[in-house]
Symmetry: C2
Subunit: 322 residues, 2 copies
Amino acid sequence: MCVRRCVITVGDLGEFGAINRITGRLPQGAAVMLGPGDDAAVIGAPDGRVAVSTDLLIEGRHFRRDWSSGYDVGRKAAAQNLADVAAMGATPTCIVVGLGIPADLPVTWLDALTEGFRDECAVVGASVAGGDITRCDLVVLGVTALGDLGGRPPVTRAGAAPGQVVAVAGRLGYAAAGWALLEAGAPVDSSVLQEAVAAHRRPCPPYAEGPRAAELGATAMLDVSDGLLQDLGHVAKASGVRIELDPQAFPIGEPVAVAAKELGVDPLEWVLAGGEDHALAAVFPKDVRLPASWQVVGRVIEGDGVLVYGREIGHSGWDHFR
Amino acid sequence: MCVRRCVITVGDLGEFGAINRITGRLPQGAAVMLGPGDDAAVIGAPDGRVAVSTDLLIEGRHFRRDWSSGYDVGRKAAAQNLADVAAMGATPTCIVVGLGIPADLPVTWLDALTEGFRDECAVVGASVAGGDITRCDLVVLGVTALGDLGGRPPVTRAGAAPGQVVAVAGRLGYAAAGWALLEAGAPVDSSVLQEAVAAHRRPCPPYAEGPRAAELGATAMLDVSDGLLQDLGHVAKASGVRIELDPQAFPIGEPVAVAAKELGVDPLEWVLAGGEDHALAAVFPKDVRLPASWQVVGRVIEGDGVLVYGREIGHSGWDHFR
């Protein structure tokens, strides 16, 4: 009988109960030779090299429990790391997750988080191969993704050269529009606005376009996490080139356009400076024949920085300490 | 001129300034084919498999800034993950670090942390190949270590069989003694007590003994992070065996003995239940000839659980939620 408190919490389960509950929900992908439960997992790396990327997500900074469900947080946390691996031209093989959670966290939230991780990994045939759990007053997620390069050289940020073209795959500005709607407390009553909010809660990176771009001869690539201008600035700097973007070339998604009208904002601001959609941006040789999933949005010339409308746009992305 | 505030903080540097400062202090090991600065690092995995382990360390829970320097925290955080990889019989190749830090963190602390990570990795020929930095009110470290199995099968927790022997390499009880001294506010005025406190701040895992044990035919192995009894309980459970320890077989280190006398504690309690020294515990075939670095402390018989003095000792280790 439940009189005083009906919510089962992580503290009720204890550390090993929580671990068992999590691992019981995690089927393992083909690359996982030894999954959760030992000192380390063992993952296939047939290429003889492994791509590895890690991110830390902090409650209140990267997500809010009142804005995003546990399931959404799991999908987003997995997505941003899987996208980093894809942006090297690699195919993700697994993630491992360090999980800091409060003892009073409802077990249902933990279950949903686990299922979010599981489902986002499944999109690319990967899985959660291991992790660590500890108590923390905030929900903190340390997510590391591994990937296999399939015999291809990694596509870094440093290979762009004058004369090449810049293209993007995936959505731009959706997550920023959704975040702005939530922060403004705007009514989100239409399905088109709901799509923007959903994009903030759960990005849809075009994972398969990463290895595909590598096969198409991409000379530089990254995932757009801090905003296209800032992220392409990294490519310009690492490659020693200038990138000139054509603002007319960007398709403005309907959710971005409608949210911008609602909030009186220039939608291009979200497209160019909004992060967290985890689109891929890549540079290709000029004569490349790109599939429809890639949209040419600019070109590489001599010089430095990133130009839009012929002028350099400031550092508009996200700095975690300013 | 510095009038109001002379401490340079992470907030003064900004995110990219902090990243540059960190990566400038990180030479890269032989396995690193692409280091920090891109979406992902690329690490050699000549074995065609990669061992991967992750841990989350939270300020106030796993370390205190008033008890441990940034350098000590870096060494400890690296050590506990490198030890996990070694406990599979693998040779660590790199770590990646997700770093959550407050804007008012002094840059000197960040520098020391970085140097601690660097130096602990250097002990095994590894390096910090990548990471992520974000703002957080607490210092939070998400550390992931990778390792190469060198063609050997991973040594899991599940291979122990009746008739085999249990052995340990490395120190036991030192870190627990040091922690107890600090928590009691006891005077630490002798070099022998200082050694215990130093062991709490900075473990010295016997990394090379991991691959060595694998080569000697270890059938099960783990690193002692939550206390020997609890950790061997995992081996007993995973292998479906009983482990019987001989309490007389454990050498009690002088710092453990002296600290125990100082605080009126049975030193064997720290040896058997204290975690964080990251010793290695392994099971070997009965006829193995072990080098002096491994001490036989028990045997595997039929049954379940872990016995000391012929009786089962309760769950004496550390549960993060209880």
